[in-house]
């Protein structure tokens, strides 16, 4: 009877510890996935011009990713997951900042060139109605 009790106790201990191990693994798996997603987002941000357009946001994302990796190595899946989620969104904001600055600069440049074109058209259009018959009139006056 006492042996059976001891057997049950040790069996439940083994079960409990394996359950803890399993849930820790599950948490680590989620953290691993989130870290991978954040890493990809950071890579995209770094290639998008974010280092120039959003250096602070990018540095924050890098720092959070490093802390997520550290927490993951320390088997703190929850902290690792939260930090990786933040690093991911920060990297996306950095990338979007770069893209937006690029689009804005292109729009400003486009407006400038379109305005120049409009002015040019106005300049050549206004005298055009009077200058077009001139070449015909020129020979008659030369006659």
């Amino acid at each position: 009877m006492r042996n059976t009790m001891r057997y049950v106790t040790s069996a439940s201990l083994v079960l409990a510890s394996s359950l803890v191990g399993w849930s820790a693994n599950a948490a680590n798996q989620i953290a691993d996935d989130k870290i991978a997603v954040a890493q990809a987002a950071l890579q995209r941000a770094e290639q998008s011009g974010a280092p120039q357009s959003a250096p602070v946001e990018l540095a924050t994302a890098r720092d959070k990713l490093a802390r997520a990796q550290k927490a993951n190595a320390d088997r703190d899946g929850k902290t690792a997951t939260a930090l990786a989620e933040q690093a991911n969104i920060d990297a996306q904001v950095a990338e979007a900042t770069a893209v937006e600055q690029h689009s804005h600069a292109a729009a400003v440049e486009f407006d400038r060139s379109l305005q120049a074109l409009r002015n040019e058209a106005l300049r050549t259009n206004a005298p055009a109605t009077t200058t077009v018959p001139l070449p015909v009139a020129a020979p008659t006056t030369a006659q």
Binding site: Q86, A107, F110, V136, P139
Partner: protein
């Protein structure tokens, strides 16, 4: 009895007060402001509908966590909501700028085409004038030649 009843009511009021005003959460309060200002931008619904929807969902998670006094979840979801709203704003502004350029492209093409047409017309007129002048000179030369032969 009466005193006990009053104490009970006071306690209930105090508890209700606690329940209806959860602890302030900086990330959540920031998210509320950012999501609201982002939603007010008409470009956002037009060009970043999915992103602002994601921000609203995160904000809802943060709000419900705050109601349950789960500060950790409220902070995390609040932070994600605020950043997702900023993402929506940035993406919407970029797309609006791109659309502005795409729309202006039609006007630019029209102006350039008109300028080319005008140049071609001018060249044609000049050519016709030169031909007319040449014909006139030829006629004058012929007339002079005929005069001298007489």
């Amino acid at each position: 009895m009466n005193k006990g009843c009053l104490t009970g009511i006071a306690l209930a009021v105090a508890l209700a007060g606690c329940a209806s005003t959860p602890m302030p959460n900086a990330a959540l309060e920031n998210a509320r402001t950012v999501v609201a200002t982002t939603e007010a931008d008409p470009n956002v619904e037009r060009y970043a509908a999915l992103d602002i929807e994601a921000a609203r969902n995160q904000l809802a998670i943060a709000e419900s966590a705050a109601l349950n006094n789960d500060q950790e979840t409220a902070s995390q979801a609040g932070y994600l909501a605020g950043q997702t709203a900023r993402l929506a704003e940035l993406r919407a502004t970029a797309k609006a700028d791109d659309a502005h350029v795409a729309n202006g492209q039609a006007e630019r093409d029209r102006i350039q085409l008109a300028a080319r047409d005008r140049e071609a017309a001018q060249a044609q007129t000049a050519q016709a004038a030169a031909a007319a002048r040449a014909a006139q000179l030829q006629a004058e030369a012929n007339a002079l030649k005929a005069q001298s032969q007489q």
